[in-house]
């Protein structure tokens, strides 16, 4: 690939991710509305919210680290998008691989922790400590899943993983080859996306949205943008590992949207668990399932 093409792809991939992510946020809110027998927000609501937040007159900054924290939160995901191959664009996927991706996906939480720390709001500190604890909980099954998948495909290169699955057709997809790992991954997705029952760190009624408590205007807008990227990243990663990636956007988009839709449907019918219960649950069931899955694929 020539450097010019690479630069265009590095620019286009996050942009596409943002637009698709906006659609996912809309889907998330519509699913919630339908489950609660409401109509739900209009089609362009996610973009209205973001423009409104960036257009506020008051932008309360709590200092440099607060701003850097938000940049890290969004930037971490922007970096992750360039490592995720999508139909027609592979960006840095050849050089990165799934292990790098797993690291890069932790940056947003750490950035948020930095930023929230400077806000010095006790609710924020409680929230972010819960968020980092939850990260510890869902990352263990997630890493086990990545290890298993890498073992089965014999590579950590995401572009190769897609190529292997596509050569063999749907019978060769990860979800058929290693169903237990796919299930464990789905459970830890719920944690990665921070949706109920694992959203104790946001808990609007108890700790006033935790990490977001002091965020206003463009900082909140940055977090809304981050949410778009987050949903997209999670959907694409799962599709790449287990659903054969995508040859064309026409088949790829339904796959990523349905991957994201499953945890959302679960989310709206659940209350939330306490932090220790989150850890206990995620370290028990997904880890057990993932270990069994590993035993099956390693045999």
């Amino acid at each position: 690939m020539s450097p010019g093409e690479l630069i265009i792809e590095l620019f286009l991939m996050p942009l596409v991710a943002f637009v698709v992510g906006l659609g996912m946020v809309l889907m998330y809110r519509r699913i919630g509305a339908r489950i609660q027998r409401r109509v739900g927000p209009p089609f362009f609501q996610p973009i209205y919210d973001i423009i409104k937040l960036y257009g506020k007159h008051t932008q309360i900054s709590h200092g440099l680290i607060h701003e850097i924290g938000i940049i890290m939160a969004v930037g971490g995901y922007v970096a992750a998008e360039t490592l995720l191959p999508v139909p027609g664009m592979s960006g840095l996927a050849d050089k990165g691989g799934v292990v790098t991706l797993a690291y890069v996906m932790m940056i947003p939480s750490l950035g948020l922790a930095l930023g929230v720390g400077q806000c010095a709001n006790p609710n924020g500190s409680i929230g972010i400590s819960r968020a980092l604890t939850a990260m510890l909980a869902y990352d263990i099954p997630f890493i086990l899943v990545i290890f298993g998948a890498a073992y089965v495909y014999g590579t950590t290169n995401l572009a190769d993983i897609i190529a292997i699955q596509q050569q063999q057709g749907p019978g060769g997809w990860g979800i058929v080859q290693m169903p237990l790992l796919a299930l464990a991954a789905l459970l830890s997705l719920q944690g990665i996306m921070g949706k109920q029952p694992f959203e104790i760190y946001i808990a609007p009624a108890e700790i006033a949205t935790g990490p977001m408590v002091e965020m206003s205007g463009k900082f909140m807008g940055g977090l809304f943008v981050m949410q778009c990227f987050q949903l997209y990243t999670v959907g694409v990663l799962y599709t790449t590992l287990f659903l054969g990636g995508g040859e064309y956007w026409l088949t790829f988009l339904p796959k990523i949207f349905s991957v994201v839709a499953i945890p959302m449907m679960i989310a709206f019918v659940f209350p939330r668990y306490r932090t220790e219960d989150v850890i206990r649950l995620l370290w028990k069931w997904p880890v057990l399932i993932a270990l069994t899955g590993l035993a099956v694929v390693l045999r």
Binding site: A33, V39, Y48, G55, A208, T209, M215
Partner: protein, 245 residues
């Protein structure tokens, strides 16, 4: 109340004072129009309910009337919110919290007074403990009268606010800066002359270029006289029974 406070006259009429400068670049006007439209279609309202009118909000938010259709959703902190709903009578103690909350919200911010009690005191007119006319303490954008107004009325009031925002009429948040002396005066009458909030409204008025001759006055002078510098709360853990720890 001291004589000093009683002697200060209070002005009555209040209007948003326009600075009179319009942007000349047509693209900038298009952009402003877009931002205004988005502002009107995305309103985050603060979860802060006073009085009995709050009970009409759950039906307005949930499946029967569904405010999210209009882009209105609840938010939990003043930093994130755009509209402050005052849903009923305001006791003097509550009013202090409302003012603290209002001052922490990011502008542009809008206040909606729901219920007759916020208009003129309603059936609490003779109560010693309620603040009667909300407009004296905060600039109010829309009043929704009724004891209590039904969800239809609440939603039609919100739609009116949406229209005001997109047509640029809902600018009463500027009044708070432009006429700060008036609002502060009324607050001082109620809470005493040493009333102060952590937010420095005068500095903010300077920042937004909203200083007028009515921003500063005798009441703000009184505020300066009594103002104590803000100090961080001391954090201390005390372990009473050391044996048990």
């Amino acid at each position: 109340m001291s004589n000093e406070l009683e002697n200060i006259p209070i002005r009555q009429e209040l209007e948003v004072l326009q600075s009179g400068q319009k942007r000349t670049n047509p693209l900038a006007n298009v952009f402003d129009g877009l931002v205004k439209f988005c502002r009107s279609r995305s309103m985050f309202m603060l979860h802060y309910c006073t009085g009995c009118g709050a009970i009409e909000l759950p039906p307005a938010m949930t499946s029967r009337f569904d405010m999210e259709r209009l882009g209105i959703q609840p938010m939990v902190t003043p930093r994130q919110a755009d509209i402050l709903l005052i849903t009923g009578y305001v006791s003097i103690k509550t009013l202090k919290r409302i003012i603290l909350t209002y001052e922490q919200m990011g502008s542009p911010k809008y206040v909606i007074g729901i219920c007759s009690c916020t208009v003129n005191g309603g059936m609490y007119w003779q109560s010693y403990a309620t603040a009667k006319v909300l407009r004296d303490y905060l600039p109010v954008d829309v009043y929704i009268a009724g004891c209590m107004p039904r969800p239809e009325a609440v939603i039609s009031g919100l739609r009116e606010l949406m229209e005001d925002i997109s047509s640029g009429r809902a600018e009463s948040w500027k009044k708070y800066y432009q006429h700060y002396d008036y609002y502060l005066g009324n607050q001082q009458k109620l809470f005493g002359e040493d009333w102060q909030t952590p937010t420095d409204i005068i500095a903010e008025a300077r920042h937004y270029d909203l200083m007028t001759e009515h921003t500063l006055g005798e009441h703000t002078a009184l505020l300066e006289k009594h103002q104590k510098p803000l100090e961080a709360l001391e954090m201390r853990l005390s372990v009473k029974d050391k044996q048990k720890v």
